[in-house]
Amino acid sequence: MDKCIITFLPDNKKVVVDRGTSLLSAALTAHIHLNSSCGGDGVCGKCRVLVKSGKVHAEPSGRIAPQDRNAGVYLACQTLAESDLTVEIFPESRLDLSALSREELALRLRGIYAPAEDIQEAKPGLTQEVFAFRPLVEKFHFELPAPDFNDKLSDLERVCRAVQEKIGDAPLHTGLANLRKLGELLRTSSWSVTVAVAAKGPVYEILAIEPGDSSQKNFGLVFDIGTTTITGQLVDLTHKKVLGTKATYNRQATFGSDIITRIIYAQAADGLEKLHHAVVDVLNEMAESFIEEHDVDLNDVTCVCVSGNTTMIHLLLRIDPSHIRQAPYVPTANYIPAIRAAEAGLKINPHGVLYCLPGVSSYVGGDITAGVLSCEIFKSKDLELLIDIGTNGEIVLGNNEWLISCAASAGPAFEGSGMACGLRAVRGAIQAVHVDPESLDVAYTTIGGDKPRGICGSGYIDLVMQLLRAGVVDKNGKLNREKAHSRLRPSSAGYEFVVVSGPQAGLDNDIVVTDADLDNFKRAKAAIYSAVSLLVRHMELKAGDIRRVFVAGGFGTSLNVESAVFIGLIPDLPRERYVFVGNSSLAGAREVLLSRDAAQACDRIAGNITYFELSTDAAYMDEYMAALFFPHTDAGRFPSVKY
């Protein structure tokens, strides 16, 4: 087959590919990750590249304006190499895989990993003794008595006897590899050994036996695998201390921005393999940099605890996720037994254990169980609510007697995807907006104080609220065409409002919000609100009965509660009932890692949460239609909101 050499600019990377390879695949081969929310279907229009020389074959796309097309702009996913090429990659087409900066990290993790003085409001902080400290993997040092004619217990039984004095009379397993070297090891170390013991449900396993006393060197990793962001922590299991926190993007985004697109991609040739590697590589790289920075031996990392939505866990374990999206939406497993981390491709101690937090259903995963655990809803006498806002909005309502959950498909609008100038919560994303009701002057702040590049979820919530108040947007979410102002102008599809004028801010293009954006946004907020509303109604309760609402999610930490209520995203409750918990999934995973009581509680929580299927509920469509209005068709539900 013919080969083509493709040179990517400005990286100046060259790759050799078969003729007919798509530019998106070629870029991946060159280790250049492009934005591709739709997974290469030519729908999202985010993988635009400029073909500077050479011949290509391209499927026509409405995503490219005619003048751009004439200038040589193509969608990388729809364009096949026909000859040697020189291709320039636009900065906005590049998937930002860099590790997050310190400020962004602080922003994302506020409330879960904060300095001692800030921890008061965070639920629950590390200082809080909620569960007894007993990590899932413990290391015990023993000075064993040497056998003699009076004590002829075998070597293994001798070790087990000592271990069972610590852990109680539970069944204790171990592997053959440990046995083969045990006799020699015990004698050469003069019966002074350290034993790593892992709790695996009701059973324990001796993972490793090491000479001497290494009981102070026991570390674990926790990860929250989000559809968009992966966050991890290195935890000292002996001293109950978080040594470091990191977050980066989920590289699976190259294969689609939402879980459904990724499940579909998993069906393609090598799709599952690629998705699996995309996530495992991130975890391994993060683990490597942790152990380097903190001078930890890889062998002393004995366990990994992971929370994530059901699809993410399937992909991490390279389990076919296809049944998740096929009726009746049954996953391969909600409870994943403790397994060898190495089997999943994770590079820690070869005997190390991987724990995945149990999920409830295909669309309510371990990340939500973790959230309920860390927010302690399962212990509360009062009615509490957890809202995890993402592409899928997950909601849990309940108290110490019952828990019910549902998942609403909100679409990626809150994560800045599918919006004309949307951006994830990265540097340069507009996160807070003020619009002067008279002059329509726009003031905004960006993440990191950088030059604005786009608008993220919290920015859109503020913006829509401000535009509603200024009368620029009507309650139906349409831009008011009668309002004569230079910021309002017709566009190719409907009208648009100029948030930031490009030339003024030193950008090539204006940052705008369009009628189509507002429509997406309205649907997203309606999906979340109507799910909450239906769940409350299903339990024959009223929103006012909810004593506390935990809002979790990527943008939860920077969310303006007043704006969120004003647009009708969350119920109109006294504002002090709202608690922003940021990444409650990671917090929950960490608690499990540090306490087998927490692990057991987590199993019980997952078992106790009733899953309520919205899609088959007759009332959902009606609730949803009623919520497709600002703030709501029934204004009586938002008494504090005045336009």
Partner: protein
């Protein structure tokens, strides 16, 4: 029948009263003015509350001839439907229509594309020929309606007519014109009680008083979703009587337009002999649809066939007799 209604509900709110047509002392020229709405209870439950106004029938007429007119209508309207003015006058004076509903179908750019001036002229002429209020409908093409309807509204300023239809995607221009010229407005929603309410809120947000909005809930003819429309109207009216101000408007149901679209009203007897005479079938289709809408709470029915109008009108009178008994 002394015990026909055992359960008496006390509702908390009445439907708004909408006045149609303005007489000379109010700045208009109508000899006959009408009022709809004001219901304090569900349709025809006279024992439970007041139902102060008799439901009205508006005759549907067109500015330009319709090529797809069913045979029964074409034959029975022969001689009058060529000229909209004659048509309106005949239906009011001879058949007893309470008011006239003029659909300006001809202004559609893909249709006859008649001018705005022609539309204004025609409406003014009909106003001169009949002494009753009019309903004026656009062609349904948003851009064209927004050009023409404000001009018609301005030319008939002060007559307190009823203009339509405002929809969620296009309500501002027509609402502004109706507010300025003192007319009422029809708010159309696609068989959806939430959207009906949302549109009423949007229109009233522009400054339109609630008693000048009438809901077109969108109906289907008998066999074409009538029961769906019925349940939407029932829900809206229940909400209205229970205190929801944003749904407490009268209903207008486009019965003629929908029933004469039904296959059962259009197919000739030669094609489907078992169905019987086409004319009778068509008329009955319109009558049954109209009667069902009345039971769901319709305040204005727009209808086409003279015979159907007569039958429904006499049925309404029968039903309303109970108010006196």
């Amino acid at each position: 029948m002394a015990e026909e209604l055992k359960m008496i509900t006390t509702w908390s709110q009445a439907v708004c009263e909408m006045r149609l047509g303005a007489g000379r002392q109010e700045g208009g020229s109508r000899k006959v003015t009408l009022t709809v709405g004001g219901e304090e209870t569900l349709p025809f439950l006279f024992k439970e509350g007041a139902l102060p106004h008799t439901p009205l029938i508006a005759v549907e007429i067109f500015d330009v001839p319709q090529d797809d007119e069913p045979e029964a209508l074409r034959r029975d309207l022969r001689g009058i439907s060529k000229d909209p003015v004659t048509w309106a006058k005949a239906m009011v004076e001879d058949i007893g229509a309470d008011l006239v509903c003029v659909k300006l179908a001809g202004i559609h750019p893909d249709g006859a594309n008649t001018s705005a001036g022609q539309a204004v002229n025609l409406v003014t002429k009909i106003l001169g020929a009949v002494d009753r209020p009019l309903i004026v409908l656009g062609c349904g093409e948003a851009g064209r309606d927004n050009e023409v309807l404000p001009l018609v509204s301005e030319a008939t300023k002060g007559e307190r007519l009823l203009f339509g239809d405002a929809v969620q995607e296009n309500y501002k221009t027509l609402t502004a014109a109706c507010i300025a010229d003192g007319h009422n407005i029809i708010a159309e929603s696609p068989i959806d009680v939430n959207i009906a309410k949302q549109l009423n809120i949007l229109i009233s947000d522009l400054g339109m008083p609630l008693d000048r909005i009438i809901i077109n809930p969108t109906i289907g003819a008998l066999g074409y979703g009538l029961e769906y429309a019925y349940s939407i109207m029932e829900r809206a009216r229940n909400a209205a009587l229970s205190g929801d101000r944003m749904l407490a408007m009268p209903f207008i149901c486009f019965v003629g337009q929908e029933s004469w679209r039904a296959k059962e009203a259009k197919v000739p007897a030669s094609e489907s002999p078992a169905w019987g005479d086409q004319r009778e079938r068509g008329i009955m289709w319109e009558v049954v649809t109209a009667m069902s809408c009345l039971q769901a709470g319709a305040d204005i029915l727009t209808m086409r066939h003279p015979q159907a109008i007569k039958i429904v009108k006499s049925e309404i009178q029968e039903l309303m007799k109970k108010a006196q008994s």
